[in-house]
């Protein structure tokens, strides 16, 4: 029995089949949401640019597996996956993309600022490294208020060269704050390879400088990410301080809609696409008897329907009143 | 070593000054203390005296040029000193030296030229007025063009409009009840004033003085009864353009304060006081009618400062006067009642146009002013008789004098000119009435210009 257990990956030992099926559904939702957004963009329904995380779904979903609504995340410009992983509704997300009043930010934020404070998502951030100190602050709040909430701070490989990264990790470490820094290393900061821009081999190596555990995992391996997160979250909840997890992954699409992919080869992209994290997870789920092929199809179909309904909801939603351009700058004056 | 002539600092935060005019030409002799050049600052024109006696050379700044304070603008060479190339100058002229070269404090009483008559003598600029002045003028239906500004560069300020309103004693028209604001032409000038006699209060302050800049000795203008300085305008335009002018509004006339006048002596005293405040430089003097009488008095009291005297139909040389016309003009409260009396002023009634009459009424719109002038007329011309006599003064005239009279003067008969001694040049103009400077300004200006040049 024990020997058997050892051969079973962490996720399939640790999570209930229901939780694993929900994880698959979220991964499909992320993929389909972004594909739907991409298509809407091409149809001219969305006027801003967007940063797609297609190919990184396992990392986002696995990182949020053990989080409750009381736990916080800070996200990045490539944050749709984190948002859905933390429990956001794709209809309100689409509405935000479409700039509608029913969107998460009432049309004021768009793709780059989607947040859902009620589910603990403190928001995507348009500034590389912008969320790092904020995550430390959120962890400080939890400490000060005596709660055992943790904060997961998502950022990319580009952010690890921002001063904010170093200041934030240092402060989280000296104060032993319950924060998990998750670096989704998708190999490029826009066009600049992380291997060029970063002095250390692994970004996780930087944890040493801040006296915290640092681990590099295959970000397309759902279970590997989930296992590393499990350890880090437990450490944080126990008051032992922060951790740094480097999640190696890859974005299939360009940096944004204006990317012409001049800095990477077709072969490289296709190689990564052949290692699709969703198909990998789905295969593993079937292999471990969590679901069968028909069940998997049903989950994908359900996600497809949710995305279609979300787009309809967004299209039919009202736009904000033009006269409300300064609404939400400050708190409404108390009546 | 020649003496450096610099642009002096005459104002606390003056960094540069604009050279207005040189009073001495290149190579001419100048005496230390004599007027050398004028500068214009934000506040006023200021005369600068020569720092040394000698010949002026190397004029480096021409009129209109702005020169930094302390910069040399010319050099004065002692008589006989060899004139070489313009010397290099020591930087950093001490401020004391610069200040020493500044004009005497007396020069400050010269008031900025009024905006209304500024056009001929200054570069064309839009009318300057503060928003507050514009608003007040708008509310009072006053045209800003008739005001003179006391602010920098003649800017009309709130106080200027308030003073004008106070002078006119005219309550602002209720909004919406009158004509469009700011359109003087549309004002109901012929509105009938209340019949009850108007009380008026004497006002403080000195006589109103305006100037026109130019070159050389200025001509001081003294207007007649019930007129004001604006009446000189046709003559001014006919006179040489660079002739500097000083205009004085008599008490209870134009923009001068209302004053109680017991008799001619009071009026003469007020004029002398105003004259003394102008500084101590010489002037040519010109007066018309009552202003002629006053000019005679002034020439008698301050003969040393009067280079020449010009009199147009002066009063005071005989008892006869058309008292009815004077009282009628002083009393008239609307254009319709004013016009018939005005028509007595010229040789032929057609000489007074409707426009002229309307403009004249506008200048007399203040009932307080009219009441004060009626009182003045009673004091000066009781029972239609000139109650003052200047025949003795005309006998004593010490400076070159000129008299111009219209042969068809209905107000003062030209034969009163015969009271003048033989030294006074007498010009009797045919087909001209009591106001030759309005009826034939070119002829009058020509006579005066020749007289001043002599």
């Amino acid at each position: 029995m024990v020997e058997n257990q050892k051969n079973i990956p962490f996720a399939f030992r640790h999570f209930t089949p229901e939780a694993l099926r929900r994880a698959l559904r979220k991964m499909h939702l992320i993929r389909l949401f972004e594909e739907g957004a991409e298509e809407s963009y091409m149809r001219g329904l969305i006027h801003g640019t967007m940063h797609l995380s297609i190919g990184q779904e396992a990392s986002a979903v696995a990182s949020c597996m053990e989080l409750t609504d009381a736990d916080k995340i800070t996200s990045t410009h490539r944050g749709h996956g984190h948002c859905i992983a933390k429990g956001a509704d794709v209809g309100r997300m689409f509405a935000e993309f479409f700039g509608k009043e029913t969107g998460y930010c009432h049309g004021r934020g768009g793709s780059m600022h989607i947040a859902d404070v009620k589910t603990g998502n403190l928001g995507a951030n348009g500034i590389v490294g912008g969320g790092l100190p904020i995550a430390v602050g959120a962890a400080l709040t939890a400490r000060r208020l005596g709660r055992d909430d943790v904060t997961v701070c998502f950022f990319g490989d580009g952010a690890n060269n921002e001063g904010a990264f170093h200041e934030a990790l240092n402060m989280a470490a000296i104060w032993k704050l319950p924060v998990i820094f998750v670096c989704e290393n998708n190999r490029y900061g826009m066009s600049t390879p992380a291997t060029y821009a970063t002095a250390v081999k692994n970004i996780a190596d930087r944890a040493v400088a801040y006296a915290m555990p640092g681990i590099t995992v295959d970000g397309n391996d759902f279970s590997a990410v989930a296992e590393a997160m499990h350890t880090a979250v437990a450490r944080a909840r126990a008051g032992e301080g922060p951790s740094l997890i480097e999640s190696l992954t890859y974005r299939w699409r360009g940096h944004s809609k204006s990317d012409r992919n001049r800095y990477r080869s077709k072969d490289e992209i296709e190689d990564w696409m052949s290692r699709d994290p969703i198909m990998r997870f789905r295969t593993d789920l079937i292999a471990h008897g969590v679901l069968d092929a028909a069940g998997a199809e049903a989950i994908e179909a359900e996600a497809k329907a949710a995305v279609a309904a979300g787009i309809d909801f967004a299209r039919e939603s009202p736009s904000p009143a033009i006269t409300d351009v300064t609404k939400f700058v400050h708190a409404e004056a108390a009546a | 070593m020649p003496v450096e002539v610099i642009m002096p600092k005459v104002d606390m935060d003056m960094a540069a000054g604009k050279l207005a005019v040189w009073h001495v030409a290149e190579g001419e002799v100048v005496k230390k203390g004599a007027a050398l050049f004028d500068i214009e600052t934000d506040k006023a024109a200021m005369e600068v005296e020569a720092p040394a006696t000698g010949r002026l050379h190397h004029i480096l700044a021409v009129p209109g040029v702005t020169v930094p304070v302390g910069a040399p603008i010319a050099f004065i060479y002692a008589e006989g000193e060899a004139v070489g190339p313009a010397p290099a100058t020591a930087a950093g002229q001490p401020a004391e030296a610069a200040l020493a070269a500044a004009a005497p404090p007396g020069a400050e009483v010269a008031v900025a030229a009024s905006a209304a008559v500024a056009t001929p003598e200054t570069e064309v600029e839009g009318l300057r007025a503060t928003p507050a002045a514009r608003r007040l003028a708008r509310e009072a239906a006053l045209a800003l063009e008739v005001l003179s500004g006391t602010g920098p560069k003649g800017r009309i300020q709130r106080s200027d409009v308030e003073a004008e309103i106070a002078r006119r004693r005219q309550p602002p028209l209720p909004a919406g009840s009158g004509p469009a604001p700011g359109t003087v032409e549309a004002r109901p000038l012929s509105r009938v004033e209340p019949v009850a006699p108007v009380d008026w209060e004497p006002q403080p302050g000195g006589l109103h003085v305006t100037t026109r800049k130019g070159t050389g000795t200025p001509l001081l203008l003294v207007h007649g009864f019930a007129a004001d300085s604006f009446g000189w305008r046709p003559l001014e335009e006919a006179l040489p353009r660079d002739l500097p002018l000083i205009r004085i509004d008599l008490p209870s006339h134009g923009r001068s304060p209302l004053r109680q006048i017991g008799g001619f002596a009071d009026l003469a005293r007020a004029l002398v006081q105003a004259f003394d405040r102008l500084g101590d430089g010489p002037v040519h003097l010109l007066g018309h009618s009552l202003g002629g009488a006053l000019a005679l008095a002034l020439a008698d009291i301050r003969p040393r400062r009067i280079r020449s005297l010009s009199l147009i139909a002066p009063a005071g040389l005989g008892p006869e006067i058309d008292g009815a016309a004077l009282n009628g003009i002083a009393r008239a409260s609307c254009t319709e009642s004013l016009t018939p009396w005005l028509k007595r002023l010229t040789a032929r009634p057609a000489g007074i146009s409707d426009d002229f009459a309307r403009a004249a009424m506008l200048g007399r719109i203040d009932p307080g002013l009219r009441a004060a002038q009626q009182d003045m007329a009673r004091a000066l011309f009781p029972d239609g008789v000139q109650a003052f006599d200047l025949t003795a003064a005309v006998e004593r005239v010490a400076m070159p004098a000129l008299m111009v009279w219209g042969r068809d003067d209905h107000i003062l008969p030209w034969r009163q000119a015969l009271a003048a001694p033989g030294e006074v040049a007498l010009h009797l103009l045919k087909g001209v009435g009591h106001v030759p400077h309005l009826e034939d300004p070119e002829t009058v200006a020509g006579l005066i210009a020749r007289h001043l040049a002599a």
Partner: protein, 339 residues
Amino acid sequence: MNAQTLFPEVQQREMSFAEAIRDAMAIALERDPTVILMGEDIGVYGGAFQVTGDLIERFGADRVIDTPISELGGAGVAVGAALTGLKPIFEFQFSDFAALAMEQIVNQAAKLRYMLGGEAAVPVVFRMPSGSGTGAAAQHSQSFEAWFGHVPGLKVVQPSTPADAKGLLLAALEDPDPVIIFEHKLLYKMKGPVPLGHYTTPIGKAAVVREGSAVTIVASAIMVHRALEAAAELAKEGIEAEVIDLRSVRPIDRATIIASVRKTGKLVCVYEGVRTLGVGAEISALIAESEAFDYLDAPIQRLGGAEAPIPYNPDLERAAVPQTPDILSVVRRLVRGEV
């Protein structure tokens, strides 16, 4: 029945500007467990200007938190804490160092509520010792109020008295949005009466600190004192100047300034920040755009900091920002109609 009703005469006490701020922070820490202090050397050192003083002894290191020398990170931690339920008061050692934290103040704190469609609030207070006069030269003497005043989402105040320093800080803590308080370093030792206990000075409200009819002087921070000094001197010459303590740069109190200029017809703005594109430009523009325009009887005058970094040499340093004689001179010229 509290002490004040028992002893109504003991309602205020003479305090220095720094003491008044400390008093406000102590009251806030006492009243509200979510209030924390953050900043460099605010603990046992007591703050670079001894403003936090002994608060660490009274409230402990959990609530009076020394940060590493990490302005960007520190400010960001304060923003994150505010976003999630705390009310941090973050002290910059010098306002100049806020330039290191522009990202968190301008891109994050100021915008989060808006970007998130009103679904979040960042009730953080940034305290910034500012201004020249200490011989600290170019990087420790600046006045950045116009910079931050340019950012929607921020509120920016500049107290000039101990009482307002306390009242505005307590108001800032009650405000659900980020507030930046510029504290002029030369005012820290200034004493004045300060009401005891909790009270607030409204943000966005200027104070007419001297009434007059001849000219309106709108001044901020230490310039208020220079303006009042000038006004007293001018009164001897028969010139009654009205002095307005701006107190709040954003939102700016349009109504008070407009009402005053309508009355006087003349406006002088006195502020320490660089003259060009500064607070005075905003005040001038709001008058030019308002109904007070028709009451202006002279050009508006601005007295601001020199177009130069703050120099070290004491004479140069004084010359770089408006002093009382500068105010006297400009008002005299304005009232005499010389400008």
